[in-house]
Symmetry: D2
Subunit: 276 residues, 4 copies
């Protein structure tokens, strides 16, 4: 179990985004409200797009709640696109290369959930990764390997199709090894322009996922809220569990769904695993 947040919109202070809300992502590292595992203290990561095309990546194995450098970075940096993740390891080593988000060129990827029976099918999945991408795999998690599978299935060309193919391949491989319900996931990925988020699980009982509702309405409703102030109307947050206490501010994303956020537009699409 992990928790993550994907922000896009007008430049936001990372401190405002990750520390200030009542149920902020950093607070969720110690005590999250939803989910089986409430402590997400096995490392964290932040990816943010700054002045360069390639996003910055700050990942650490410390719990987010006590990491001084994370606090310092967040106080200084602001960004139009932020991916943040707090980790609860389901067995893989607690090391920087296993912290999300993962980066490939200008792309970021993060995952909440697990590939069941991963040790059993890891080799088969690894073999399906494009040989030229293979040496880029630096860690040992299911989540990173899933990213490289999606890249191998054409993520940079057609995100939804590539994720559908990667999930179908994981499910097929898993079932061949006798694993029921191999995939459990919410994932987010971005090229720096568009964010795609997915909620899916083989058993149809997926980790929670929410997106923020229209910011202007919220600003009118909560004129004193610091998180909302200064955000432009195209600002959007997709997140594992609601931040803050403005529960009306969040809409649950349904099972088997892909949400695509580009500028002020959010498109909700069905998601089904499909062979490549």
């Amino acid at each position: 179990m992990c928790r993550w947040l994907a922000y896009s919109g007008s430049p936001v202070s990372l401190e405002e985004l990750l520390y200030k809300p009542a149920n902020s992502l950093v607070m969720q590292s110690k005590h999250s409200r939803l989910g089986v595992e409430t402590t997400n203290g096995d490392g964290f990561g932040v990816g943010w797009y700054g002045t360069r095309q390639t996003p910055g990546l700050f990942r650490s194995t410390e719990p987010a709640w006590h990491d001084v450098n994370l606090r310092e970075l967040c106080a200084q940096a602001s960004s139009e696109r932020v991916f943040a993740h707090i980790r609860a390891s389901t067995g893989s080593a607690v090391q920087q290369t296993n912290c999300h988000p993962f980066r490939h060129e200008d792309w970021l990827w993060m995952h909440n959930g697990a590939i069941r029976g991963f040790p059993t099918i890891k080799r088969d999945l690894a073999l399906a990764v494009e040989p030229e991408l293979y040496p880029e795999i630096l860690g040992s998690t299911d989540s990173e390997l899933f990213f490289y599978l999606a890249l191998s299935f054409g993520l940079t060309e057609d995100v939804r199709a590539a994720v559908a193919a990667a999930v179908e391949f994981v499910e097929r491989t898993g079932r061949r090894h006798g694993i029921e319900d191999p995939m459990q996931m919410t994932i987010a990925t971005t090229d720096g322009e568009t964010t795609w988020a997915f909620r899916y699980s083989s058993e149809g009982n997926s980790r929670s996922l929410f997106h923020s509702t229209d910011i202007e309405t919220l600003q009118a409703q909560y004129p004193d809220n610091d998180v909302l102030k200064g955000l432009s109307r195209e600002s959007r947050i997709v997140v594992s569990e609601p931040l803050g206490d403005l529960y009306g501010a969040w809409q649950e994303i349904p099972e088997s769904t892909c949400i695509l956020v580009r500028g002020a537009e959010a498109e909700i699409l069905p998601f089904t695993p499909t062979a490549a």
Copy 2:
């Protein structure tokens, strides 16, 4: 809030002691059952007496639950006297020198609780430390400074009197600065032969503290329990909250009490702060 455990008795595997019980100390680092703060993920420490007179000390800023080296050490080491502590910082930096137990020559010391208003009175407390001990203070916590105060008040000569004097000094200093109820503590200290544990707070509402009841009775009651097997009759555990599910195995130590464990003998004494 922290959690700690003090073991003495026949040589015990650190793995059996710290990992195996149902509500083991390492498990309490993620989810403790008692206390306000249930996550104790701001570092940990183990002190154990081996073949040398000076105990070994393994302290780390990582959460105990995911520290691989702690697991390895515990698999290899066994000891007749073990102090173990998991930390939930109340504000001091998360750094090795702030992890308990603290060591001075052959002595160990660990603390659960806090000195209230510590930033306000820290300087006055530090001035009361013996000048030759002063440079040994390596961290920044109230707990370590409290240890050096007790040492300055004669801990190595008369433990109960020195702790009583140190507590009285902290309370007097705190009150002079307008701090109500300055002291909240359970502490344990040992010279390698005897363990002293204290439960006390200025407001008379102290952190929980338990000691194990007679091992032989327990072994008879629970013949299949792995933690109990192999322990000799002089084995004793003093601990912040019960390990395992054998609740009959534990007796609460009353408020304002000092318990002294030497060999098979456990002596329960009243504890009152007293000017030196």
Copy 3:
């Protein structure tokens, strides 16, 4: 022994500043050219002034040369004023709170050298720190305590006089305890507008210190040099040992000297310890 760098001028990429030169500060963490100790692998720190008045601070106990997060931060951040430091511990614990630069409000401070006999005189020095500043001391080094002494002697009012008074106090205290030549230092401090750097030692044989010569002349001489490109004429670097191979680019700062850099102006002044 440590190494440090203080930059001020037109906004510079931290990556260009700290990684690109041939003998860059990050490279010096593994192999510095000058000085007794050539490995400075006991942590590092970067302080940089961004959009807020309070500078950001990124400090870690890892060797700078292999710290991935430092590399990432430097790739994203640029600043008009950067303090960077790599540490070779002379005995104090390797912990974040012992890494330079140290920060107090908007001020930064870093030090290369040592206070000799520090354990002997630490308590006397600590007592001279203003009581309201005392609880801000978080680490255990001579360098941080020296900073708080200078603050206590009025650093924020008159930098040169405060440092002179702090050095005089350290020397007087040291000599009273029979320590010859108590002070060895190059230090840099800034309020975000002006940088002051000092080179001094009690024995008149101080750690090396250099400042960059006129940038425009250098740019004319080395039109292809990446470090120089894009720097405006008021850009200045003060540094423990020359960066890059443009040795003409650097002037040694004499013994017992203070250099003050404000905008394009660099003023060289004598420095003598003086009682407050």
Copy 4:
């Protein structure tokens, strides 16, 4: 470039072994005498056989020279068989799972050197690992993958033949990808009873390797030497570069050689890569 040491013989204090000699392995982490890279500050590891059949493993990403826990562990532990390694990364991430020694069941493995062109041939090498061993690979180094190749080629049955087959496979695979001289290595492996060490490189210019000469002769020559005292006549050290200043104490192991140490016997055998 790395440095390593393999000890077997009478129980030795890890502190005596790793800290006390003049050019001790821990000292070599900061300044080694031989080799291109003199700083080995990218982590370390110690494997030691204690009371259990499975050896203990203590690995950390910190430089060995400043790791407090290593010092503590070494002060407490003694062992009849110790593997110790200090790392200078040639590119792989600095993380615990990349630190040597690597462990599989009761076996340990450590490596100095590199597989050239590793990113290019990593996938082909990984495919040659037995599927049931594959998920045990936790890190990303050439050294660990080399271990799993050797295991796949039968290390636990016939060590010399399995290493010969693994090296031949790496060389063949490398050359197929146009890599000249793919293998550079000294390695050590043990099952807890026998230690095998190899010195080999494709170009016939291998990293240095030494073994200690007869302990009894040495003890007679250097009656006051602390490292030698208390060692029994079957004690042997194989090491990347001589410890201490007793240069007569060490014999260089020739190129293309395997040395096998079991009890007091050391057997020197030729080593040639050979197809499985």
